[in-house]
Subunit: 160 residues, 2 copies
């Protein structure tokens, strides 16, 4: 995957977390995700399609997600509630929306509705034809990981 | 949600499962999903965007998913392997692709890359502004559930 599709996510999470949560984010070294996949408790997943097709996942341990949702909403919200899932979904939506606006060459990209996975120690696999880059993000609330698995669509594939 | 967006998924899962797996599917009564959400072990998630925005989830107990992947690939594949996630992702891709082709009024809809969640007893929440319809599907391999959470996009929202 082209690095020009990774830097927009780095800038976007830093922007969203600093403006919406007043939470600085320290970005670690991005790595290619491989099996066995790391385990998380809460993940927000959003799909991208258009000139670029793929998925973006924001994953958290429960404690980190609860702290971040509290910063975001100003309330302590139970991780089982619909409001909690809405907040996690809105965060992955904002991070993905901000990133796609900074993709190179004015790519036309649409994003789907987010889905939020709640389950201790779940793993998320993409498809093996689309490499996935994991970007570790350290915050005062704990570690958040963004996973970006996207590929450019060729003109031939779009016409199909 | 308009029922004309549900019937394409019913037809598509029956078509995909009968042609690819030779597995008849008996469709149960669709219901609106509510919290607490049901628990599953394996879920394939795909996003839709364009004139219709949303997400489609195909969820299984582990044993059912392993049997279905065996029918699909002709091999017994470990649920932890990349090939297993690829097979589940391809199934949700085919079911969603078949359904979107049958949406009313020739809607322009793109689908994203699938993500596959592996984790015993996980739950999946959408966003509370998008109602989610669960369609229970009984097969000889066990129960599969399709969840469809989609909404039509207004012209004003698309221009934004």
């Amino acid at each position: 995957m082209d690095a020009s599709y990774i830097t927009p996510f780095v800038a976007s999470i830093q922007n969203v977390f600093s403006t919406m949560l007043q939470l600085p984010v320290e970005i670690g070294e991005p790595t290619i995700k491989s099996n066995p996949h790391p385990e998380f408790d809460i993940s927000g997943i959003i799909g991208m399609s258009g000139d670029v097709v793929g998925s973006v996942v924001l994953s958290f341990p429960t404690e980190t997600a609860v702290s971040i949702v509290q910063l975001f909403t100003g309330m302590e919200i139970d991780a089982e509630s619909d409001d909690f899932a809405d907040a996690i979904g809105e965060l992955v939506n904002m991070v993905s929306g901000g990133a796609k606006a900074a993709f190179p060459d004015n790519k036309r990209v649409s994003i789907s509705c987010p889905s939020v996975v709640i389950g201790k120690g779940h793993r998320i696999a993409g498809q093996s034809d689309t490499p996935c880059v994991m970007i570790p993000c350290q915050t005062d609330c704990g570690e958040v990981v963004i996973e970006v698995a996207i590929k450019q669509v060729t003109a031939a594939a779009q016409a199909a």
